[in-house]
């Protein structure tokens, strides 16, 4: 599975707005480059990124080839309860990756 780096604060106060960062290793081949053999290198990108908080979707992104290699996202959510923040990446050629982090909300 491709490596992913997640940044979720381990602790937060109830109602606090927290920043979440996610970075995944992926070349994001655009499908617009010409290879050394003169043929177009086929597209191979991550198309969807989904973040869930205790199973409920809190952020989703539809990606296109214009997203740089090793896609990075930073977004916010409200710390409502303790639990698991899970991340899912889906892409071309059956690409699938998942990662999760726990958060304690007091």
């Amino acid at each position: 599975m491709a490596r992913a780096l997640i940044n979720v604060p381990p602790k937060a106060k109830r109602g606090e707005i927290i920043e979440i960062k996610a970075l995944i290793q992926h070349e994001m081949e655009t499908g617009f480059r010409v290879g050394t053999n003169g043929n177009m290198i086929p597209r191979d990108i991550i198309t969807d990124f989904i973040c869930k908080y205790n199973g409920e979707e809190i952020f989703r992104a539809d990606l296109h080839p214009a997203i740089s290699a090793n896609p990075f996202f930073a977004f916010f959510t409200t710390a409502t309860e303790s639990g698991t923040i899970s991340f899912e990446w889906v892409g071309d050629n059956g690409f699938a990756a998942a990662e999760s982090a726990t958060i304690t909300v007091e």
Partner: protein
Amino acid sequence: MTQHDDHLHATRRRFLTDAAALAGSLGLGLSLTLKPATATPATMQAALKKVVGEAPLQKGKVKLDVPPLVENGNVVPVTVTVDSPMTASDYVKAIHIFNEKNPQPNVIGAHLGPRAGRATISTRIRLADTQNLTAVAELSDGSFWTDSVQVIVTLAACVESL
């Protein structure tokens, strides 16, 4: 060449331009060369229309943050912030980013909800050339707001191969 040939050439040329114009108006890109068609202000407008539909696109509320002169067009940090209370009845549903000179106009479509607390997203994008970048925010009340920035992109001074 005879006058007859000239007439035929003119007619054929006329047909191709008309076909391209028709294709263009239908939102299709008629590419007559092998290299990928690049987005144009027209295809960007078409992509925008797909998201916004007939609703008016209003200036305001959205702030698109990009370095005015990027260090490298392959990795351009972008942040979009939308002025919104992010309550259950008044929040940002989605933030879209479009470009006008990459091979295709869409960059990202991010879907949020009131739980976000703050309508700010950051990512890193590729920009092929100096161009306009446009961000569109869709609010829970069905309104659409936008901001546009001109980004200057230069090629790296020392390249890998000639």
